[in-house]
């Protein structure tokens, strides 16, 4: 019997209780986090490993991942914006009332009397729209570094699904205040959803296959916007879509982890400046071999253990990755709050079906589509967006070259091809818009022309057709599918930006052309 056991027996029950009480904070904290503040490499590893929220990250992180110039933090920013949107959204849900009678007034009350309500509403609005921008930028980063390759093909597809979800979430939120903007955006968007009718009408099959009207009714819960639409849109906005986006975001992150973290160039060597972003592991700890070993998980994935490779360039996630993530979180939060402090989210007059806004415009992120829609309802509303999404989905399957993954623009040629695509698409697209504005299109020259011809041949479809042909030409010229994909993607980005800008700034009443909003006729 040693001394400790004797003490156990001799101590009274009550003193044990008081001891437990004294150490309560430490034991509760310890049971939750399992470690104290980590001060050895083992503790740093286990801090990540044993934490539900942190274990989605590896215990070690590649230095390349920590370089701000590689990821630009875009994916993280998108995720943090989502977190901000969810948090501010719950706050708004407390006050918002999704009924036609009360929705507008409850938003006004959030603005005028709820403590911090106006700024929170702005945060929700701007963080939500920021997601669109940052998800697109993130997508561009992933594309240009070739990160949709080497096992990450499906994660690219998940990413495109997330992009669509971000669009739809933003759109459903746009409709909730039930002001003039909401109402007329609802009208425009439901018209976009009905646009397949143009094709089914031309083919004369609307009677049997009216997919346009079906999707409009599905969205509006009827043929015109009303209280049922608001109810439905609200349900989508606060429940269905957030659930779906959480699931897909989870899959997205999980696959990153399973794919071995971020992509990195094959020939990676740390530079002096890397010491500014990462602190190398303490070699003295001695619990990790200098050679990387592989466990069952990696073998199950059929990877050949490539021993003695790359290990030098890994650093501990705690604190290297965590401080980087925390910095990006703080930067995102600060930017959103500062922007929201100064810029108010718009709110117009109460929705009035008798007073159309002129021009009635969809939310800005759909204005590129609305511009295409003005040429042909089917092509702008269904055909071209479907084709674009289909193309985005297929990129990783049609371009399977594994050369120089993890390098921006692949190589020197890639940079040239991207620059070439940028210049050509900017010039040609602006040219097409100028032509369509100046000379009109087929309908202005041949008033009797069948709609089917215009559906097939209009500035939008010609432009998309050109993009595809040009990409095929690039593939033929360079003998590389990656270069073709590069042209395609650059031209997609340029089109989105130019069309959105054009339809936002230069389309005025009756969708007429104006050099700027200040030239719109005053009503």
């Amino acid at each position: 019997m040693n001394e400790v056991e004797v003490n156990e027996i001799e101590r009274s029950g009550l003193s044990k209780f008081t001891d437990n009480l004294k150490s309560l904070a430490a034991t509760v904290f310890g049971s939750v986090f399992r470690n104290g503040s980590p001060n050895s490499d083992k503790a740093r590893a286990s801090a990540i490993f044993n934490n539900f929220f942190l274990h989605i990250q590896g215990t070690k992180t590649h230095i390349n991942t920590l370089r701000p110039s590689y990821t630009l933090g875009l994916g993280l920013i998108s995720f943090f914006l989502l977190v901000i949107v969810v948090a501010s959204g719950i706050f708004l849900m407390v006050y918002y009332n999704p009924s036609v009678e009360n929705a507008y007034q409850s938003v006004k009350n959030i603005i005028y009397v709820v403590f911090g309500g106006n700024v929170t509403r702005n945060i929700h609005k701007w963080a939500g729209e920021g997601m669109i921008i940052f998800v697109l930028l993130h997508m561009a980063r992933v594309f240009f570094t070739g990160s949709y390759k080497s096992g990450r093909e499906f994660n690219w597809v998940v990413g495109v699904i997330l992009l669509i979800l971000v669009f739809v979430l933003n759109l459903t939120g746009y409709l909730l205040p039930w002001d003039q903007l909401s109402y007329w955006a609802l009208v425009i968007v439901s018209n976009i959803m009905q646009s397949p009718r143009e094709l089914t009408d031309s083919l004369g099959i609307t009677r049997f296959f009216d997919v346009g009207t079906f999707s409009r009714e599905f969205f509006l819960a009827g043929m015109v916007p009303g209280k049922e639409s608001l109810n439905r849109v609200y349900l989508f906005h606060v429940m269905v879509l957030p659930l779906i986006i959480s699931v897909f975001a989870g899959i997205h992150f999980w696959r990153i982890r399973k794919d071995g973290g971020m992509t990195k160039p094959d020939a990676f060597s740390p530079t002096v400046s890397d010491s500014g972003y990462a602190v190398p592991p303490a070699k003295t700890a001695g619990i990790f071999p200098t050679h990387k070993t592989y466990g069952l998980m990696e073998l199950a994935r059929g990877k050949t253990p490539s021993v003695d490779k790359d290990i030098e360039n890994m650093v501990f996630s705690w604190p290297n990755l965590l401080i980087a993530e925390l910095a990006v979180l703080m930067l995102t939060l600060a930017a959103v709050v500062v922007y929201s402090y100064y810029i108010n989210a718009p709110i117009r007059e109460f929705a009035n079906p008798l007073i159309p806004e002129n021009p009635a415009k969809a939310p800005w992120y759909f204005l590129g589509l609305q511009e295409l829609l003005s040429y042909s309802a089917f092509m702008g509303g269904a055909g071209l967006p479907m084709l674009t999404l289909f193309g985005l989905f297929l990129i990783p399957y049609l371009d399977r070259e594994q050369y120089n993954v993890g390098t921006w623009f692949t190589d020197r040629k890639g940079k040239l091809i991207a620059f070439e695509a940028f210049v050509i698409s900017t010039v040609l697209l602006i040219g097409i818009l100028v032509f369509a504005v100046n000379f009109g299109w087929l309908r202005s020259w041949f008033p009797e022309i069948p709609q089917l011809v215009i559906t097939l041949v209009n500035p939008g479809s010609i432009w998309v057709g050109f993009i595809i042909v040009w990409s095929l030409f690039v593939i033929r010229r360079t003998g590389s599918t990656r270069m073709g994909a590069m042209s395609l993607f650059v031209m997609f980005l340029v089109s989105y930006v130019i069309l959105t800008y054009f339809a936002t700034e230069m389309r005025g009443p009756n969708w007429g052309f104006f050099w700027s909003m200040s030239q719109w006729p005053i009503h």
């Binding site: 007034q105 009350n109 602190v279 925390l326 939060l333 402090y341 005053i522």
Partner: protein
């Protein structure tokens, strides 16, 4: 040991974040209205005459105040800044602390009526700009009414009779003006009036988007649009056919009345209106209400530059000689096709048969007893072929080659049923011979232009033979 780069990003953005969270919280704790409340409290303490008032003033709590208007289901938060509305000590204070003028609040306590019932504006807003709701950027359809138009709100709950005696003289004056200027000749209100112009029932509450502000000088508000429009309609809407040009004070009165025509009815608990049976109006008042806008006093025919046609002098004895009561009734009730004279049947205009009768009674007051000097030769002798030549020489200048008169011509249409069917041909002949005083129709007889009786009979025969 942390990366210096990320640590500095973290710390700097943390600093910015905390700063702006503090600023947001400060705005939450000290919103715009709270500064007014603090200032008001100081004013109260300064103005206190005795210790009791001073103590009371010092115990004033600041906080969000609002009046819930149960009947209208909305909140008025104006009193957060307009703190002295019912405080007699604030009679001479500056805005927004000034006491409400007059003794209106005695009968309209703020806790029942709030402010926007009379003053409009965005009651739920808590900042000056959005609460007053003025200007395009405010996106509010009912901006606060300027003092000169506030009386228009009284008519939501009170009748004009009561208002004219109890401090609502201006809005009652506007109503009188509306009735006496003959606005109802073109516009319907409450289902009664002509159909040339727009129905005015909701004009006072229509959203600003309904009004083209392009040529409006001054504030872009509905009331300013109305006022400018009453002064010069064509200046605001180029192709308006409205015939009115009021001077400053009259146009303000009429604007005030127009602003009373609102779509939403006040809930019962706010209203105090006597629904007296309608007063029977005499012929003269009815004439003013429905006819005067076009026919003016009715003694002279007028060439209207907007209609591009001549408006007949319907109270002119010479005209009345031609038109007996039956004819007048037909014209009034059926209207005149292809002219601005619309039908005044009850179903079309809401005007009762009795009122039409009264109007006819007023019109025919000056009808001469004796009809006209008899015409010496019987009309059946007229030869249309000769009449045609004479018509083209003498008549077509004003009545047009086809006798349709109408646009851009001084003469009236000779193809109207009145000329063709209702009037005795002999009367037409007498009119041609003697002319019609008070109108541009000159005498054509021997003593004047020199047409013989036979020629006149020929013209009548030609006119009556126009294909129907």
């Amino acid at each position: 040991m942390y990366s210096r780069f990320y640590l500095s990003v973290l710390l700097m953005s943390g600093l910015v974040l905390v700063t702006y969270l503090v600023l947001t919280a400060y705005d939450g704790v000290m919103p715009e209205w709270k500064h007014y409340q603090i200032e008001y409290k100081e004013l109260l303490i300064k103005n206190a005459k005795d210790d009791a008032t001073r103590t009371r003033a010092q115990s004033m709590q600041s906080g969000l105040r609002q009046t819930y208007l149960a009947g209208l289901k909305r909140e008025d938060r104006c009193v957060n800044c307009h703190l002295g509305v019912d405080n007699p000590m604030m009679a001479d204070a500056k805005l927004p602390f000034k006491k409400h003028s007059g003794n209106y609040l005695a009968n309209h306590p703020v806790d029942k009526f709030g402010c926007t019932v009379c003053h409009d504006g965005q009651g739920s807003a808590t900042t000056l700009e959005s609460a007053h709701g003025k200007g395009h950027g405010a996106h509010w359809d009912r901006p606060v009414l300027p003092l000169e138009y506030v009386q228009s709100s009284c008519a939501q709950c009170h009748d004009f009779d009561m208002l004219s005696k109890n401090g609502g003289a201006k809005v009652a004056g506007g109503e009188t003006l509306f009735n006496e200027k003959g606005c109802r000749g073109c516009h319907k209100v409450n289902g009664r009036g002509g159909s040339l112009g727009k129905t005015l029932d909701k004009v006072g509450s229509e959203p600003i988007a309904y009004f083209s502000m392009k040529h409006v000088i001054g504030d872009h508000t509905v009331y300013n649009w109305l006022k400018r429009h009453f002064e010069d309609p064509q200046n605001i809407m180029r192709n308006s056919e409205m015939k009115v040009s009021l001077k400053g004070s009259d146009s303000a009165l009429l604007t005030m009345f127009a602003m009373t025509l609102r779509s939403d009815e006040m809930p019962k608990q706010y209203r105090d209106m006597k629904y007296t049976p309608e007063v029977k109006l005499n012929g003269e008042s009815l004439y003013k209400r429905y006819c005067i806008a076009c026919h003016e006093d009715g003694t002279r025919s007028l060439y209207n530059e907007i209609f591009n046609r001549t408006i007949p002098a319907i109270r002119n004895p010479a005209f009345l000689k031609a038109a007996d009561d039956k004819t007048l009734e037909t014209i009034i009730k059926e209207g005149r096709k292809s002219t601005q004279m619309t039908s005044w049947k009850t179903v079309a205009s809401g005007v009762s048969d009795e009122d039409v009768k009264n109007i006819i009674g007023y019109l025919s007051e000056k009808r001469p007893a004796e009809k006209y000097e008899p015409f010496p030769i019987p009309m059946s002798q007229g030869e249309p072929n000769n009449g045609k030549n004479i018509f083209e020489t003498h008549c077509s200048v004003c009545h047009g080659k086809d006798g349709r008169g109408g646009e851009d011509r001084l003469g009236v249409s000779l193809r109207s049923p009145v000329v063709q069917k209702m009037v005795n041909p002999e009367f037409l002949a007498a009119t041609i011979r003697d002319g019609r005083s008070g109108t541009p129709m000159p005498p054509f007889g021997k003593d004047a232009i020199g047409l013989g009786d036979k020629d006149i009979a020929d013209v009548v025969a030609y006119v009556r033979a126009f294909p129907k």
